[in-house]
């Protein structure tokens, strides 16, 4: 398989994501440029962390207008795998590929810390390598990571099992103290209804090597690889955009 990692102006973790995919995992990986509509035939598009366009408006609000995003939306609608990390998650929400929004942390401060997340669903192309309810140690680093959505959307997310990751304590309990940013229902990561677009606030690319931050994040990328090597992992459905 071939990974594509987008560079927006202001992307910061793009090189780290390429490092994790190409050097640690050893997969073919190409950098995609925000001005270029061509996705170069990649099998999974990663939107990396950072502050695209400086995020002086809302996080991700400008990146959705980048030429490359037209192709990403098209790719996602056709069932292609799209993986948004941190700012990438914010961009996917702003683009309407994922429901809800990410707002300022409840503390109003940027937070960089190692936290725990529980894998809620393993029947997605992004999490199939993990065990059900497996607790992962992952880093977060963001100022706007508080996931919010209206009550109906939240209910739909739960009913459709679209909540993929939740902030928990080391013992796996989704407590308020374990929630680093005030996200509703301790949501750390979700998929769309078709389960081919994934966004999460923690940074799996910074948890791929025991020397630097542990290796609990590798499973997300291994899952994608396994899904793609099984053949077409995704379905196109008629679910309205945005859910």
């Amino acid at each position: 398989m071939r990974w594509g990692v987008i560079t927006f102006p202001g992307s910061l973790d793009n090189a780290d994501t390429v490092h994790a995919l190409a050097q640690v995992l050893g997969d073919p990986t190409v950098s995609l440029w925000h001005k270029d509509r061509n996705l170069h035939g990649v099998d999974c598009v990663v939107l990396p962390g950072g502050f695209s366009y400086g995020d002086y408006l809302r996080a991700g609000a400008l990146a959705r207008f980048a030429p490359v995003m037209e192709s990403v939306v098209e790719f996602a609608r056709a069932g292609g795998l799209v993986f948004g990390i941190c700012n990438g998650f914010q961009v996917l929400c702003e683009s309407g590929l994922l429901p809800g929004a990410l707002i300022r942390n409840r503390s109003l401060s940027f937070i960089c810390a190692s936290i725990h997340c529980r894998v809620e669903e393993t029947d997605t192309p992004f999490t199939r390598s993990y065990g059900q309810a497996e607790v992962l140690a992952l880093p977060v680093k963001h100022g706007e990571g508080c996931y919010v959505a209206d009550a109906d959307t939240l209910l739909a997310l739960e009913d459709n099992r679209q909540v993929i990751l939740r902030y928990v304590d080391a013992a796996g309990r989704a407590t308020e103290a374990a929630n680093p940013n005030g996200s509703l229902r301790n949501i750390a990561g979700i998929v769309n209804a078709s389960r081919n677009v994934f966004g999460l606030m923690p940074h799996p690319e910074h948890a791929c090597e025991p020397l630097c931050g542990g290796a609990d994040g590798l499973g997300f990328f291994r899952s994608v690889r396994a899904s793609l090597s099984d053949g077409a992992p995704t379905r196109t459905t008629s679910v309205p955009p945005g859910l």
Binding site: L12, S109, E209, C212
Partner: protein, 740 residues
Amino acid sequence: MTTTLPPVSEAQALDHGLTAAEFRRFCDAIGRVPNLVELGVCSVMWSEHCSYKSSRAVLRGLPTTGPRVLQGPGENAGALAIGDGLAVVFKIESHNHPSYVEPYQGAATGVGGILRDVFTMNARPIANLNSLRFGSFDHPRTRYLVSGVVSGIGGYGNCVGVPTVGGEIYFDAAYNENILVNAFTIGVARADRIFRASAAGVGNPVIYVGSKTGRDGIHGASLLASAEFDDTTEQKRPTVQVGDPFTEKLLIEACLELMEQDAVVAIQDMGAAGLTSSSVEMAARGGLGITIDLDRVPKREATLSPYEILLSESQERMLIVARAGAEDSVLAVFAKWDLDAVVIGRVTDDGFWRVSAGGQDVACLPLEPLAHGAPVYERPAAPPPTLDEMQRLDLGQLPQPGDYGQTLLRLLAVPNIASKRWVYRQYDSLVGSNTVVGPGSDAAVLRIKGTNKAVAVSVDCNSRYCLLDPYVGAMTAVVEGARNVVCSGAEPIGVSDCLNFGNPEKPEIMWQFREAVRGLGDACTALGVPIVSGNVSFYNETDGRAIPPTPTVAMVGLLADVAHHTTQWFKGDGDVVVLLGRTREELGGSEYLAVTRDLVRGTPPWIDLSVEMQVQQVCLAAIREGLVRSAHDLSEGGLAVALAEACISGPGDPLGAEIEMEADIRPDAWLFGESQSRILLSLRKKHVNRLRELARAADVPCTVVGEVRGRRLRIGNLIDVSAVDLRTAWADALAARMDE
């Protein structure tokens, strides 16, 4: 050579911060009276900040050479070879006055400026650190300054893709009205591809890249950085620059991409004194001349005057001398990154700095006097009259504390010792995927991708010691920095220093400065580490009250094998706890005296550089042999605080320790004294004999003091406290002080 603008008066020169003698000197050097634009330019180039006129003569004695040195002081940053064809490029720099006047932007642009100094040499920045000094929490402005500076460092650093991995932060009433913000960046470059800021090639284009020029930061270098504070300080806010980290990120990528090509002859950040100093310094280093057409400079407002354009310190701008014919490839790279890039001048051979606007010459000055003509002052120096009194300390008059455990808990909760997590959790310490040891241990450790190596970095200074004895205090800053990187598994290889002092025109300040520089030099010489970059910040005074001398030392160490990286916290029950070095009855200048007796007195701890070297070498040898599970430098709060930190500062649940050793000197000095050249190790039982052998061979005292065990820290019959209580006292104290 002259211009069409009228000459200035001596009164105008004095308003610009020049002395009458300096003004006459400049007129003599250029053979006429300058116009207003030229005076403005002279006032910044000859300011203390840019010319080092008070420090230059003293700094000459510092050790700056060595087999690893690729670039010593005098360039944008220093560079050391680390093997594998690579170099580390690093520098520390002050941004004190701007951060006091406008804490968020002052600190943010401090980070931006030091980043540019490093990537301008074609090094990719891999880490930021900072050294911060604030006033007491009793001062009404302190919380505002702390929160502004910390969010400024985070707001800028988090947006540029460079991790902030460590630093130090101290609180002392002596900084109430003059905080210190020293920012450090380290980058990695190919040793054979380091770019310098020396113009060459007559006819080569001079290219302006980055942000447009605005009115911010005018006279930052001359009026803000080179003068004391007084009641007009608030009015100096317009001299503070405003940062845009998004543009900085684009500038980093564009410059590094450009330097992969063969287009750049010289490149320099437009830092202090902006377009003026960058063009003057590049042309002067090359022994050439330069022309600049201000009409071509990208501007935020069309109405900017030549004076404003030349003296603006707008951020995120660089000046490049390119190879003739390579203009298009330079412009193409910056167009790709949506940044301005404009040819604004040419390199000439006439030795003149010639600036035009609207078709007229507005400045035409010989480069040599502008760049190097500032006077070099040998200012008088004399010890402060209060020194003898301050150094007097009669321990016999001091009773022992009633409860040593309570004293330990109290020390752990003071802001100078408490966990700095509240601060560093606001910084991205991970981006770059190199962070092996992040904030919260003795030094940060970053791997060098593509090699087996890593670098360790620590910034240190105990300014209380420096106040009581600047020579010993500065030596201590060096050896403590070295000890911190050694405890992390690295061999110290080089230093960048940031010398923060009061008004050098006062003899006692000049004495402090001379003594501190002598201490830095002696310690660096003994340790064999060159000083390759740095900065001097004078005039850290408000209404005549100077800060304590604060020579901050950024120590860089190299790990030949990243597997040797070591952290300060205990790893598990059953490990043996060993103290390297000797504990003396020393309490002068200690945190213990300051906290429990409100005393800053006595002489700082005794230091013997050869003993220090031996202790460090034993520690490093033991780490490299794989004997060591944890290593922690003893500093503020002494043995008891170091033991407590080893129990509680790790990522897991707090651990306990049983310390059987008995005090052989007065107990408070034994527990809380800050004797130098000591390191606390923990190791498996089976390795203790080998450690003893290493220590014996080097004649280093090596004492088994106890064992990691249980969930309480028990130190002889003096202290018995639960590890959870220790952690609670230490972990949340700073956040609690900020919330008060």
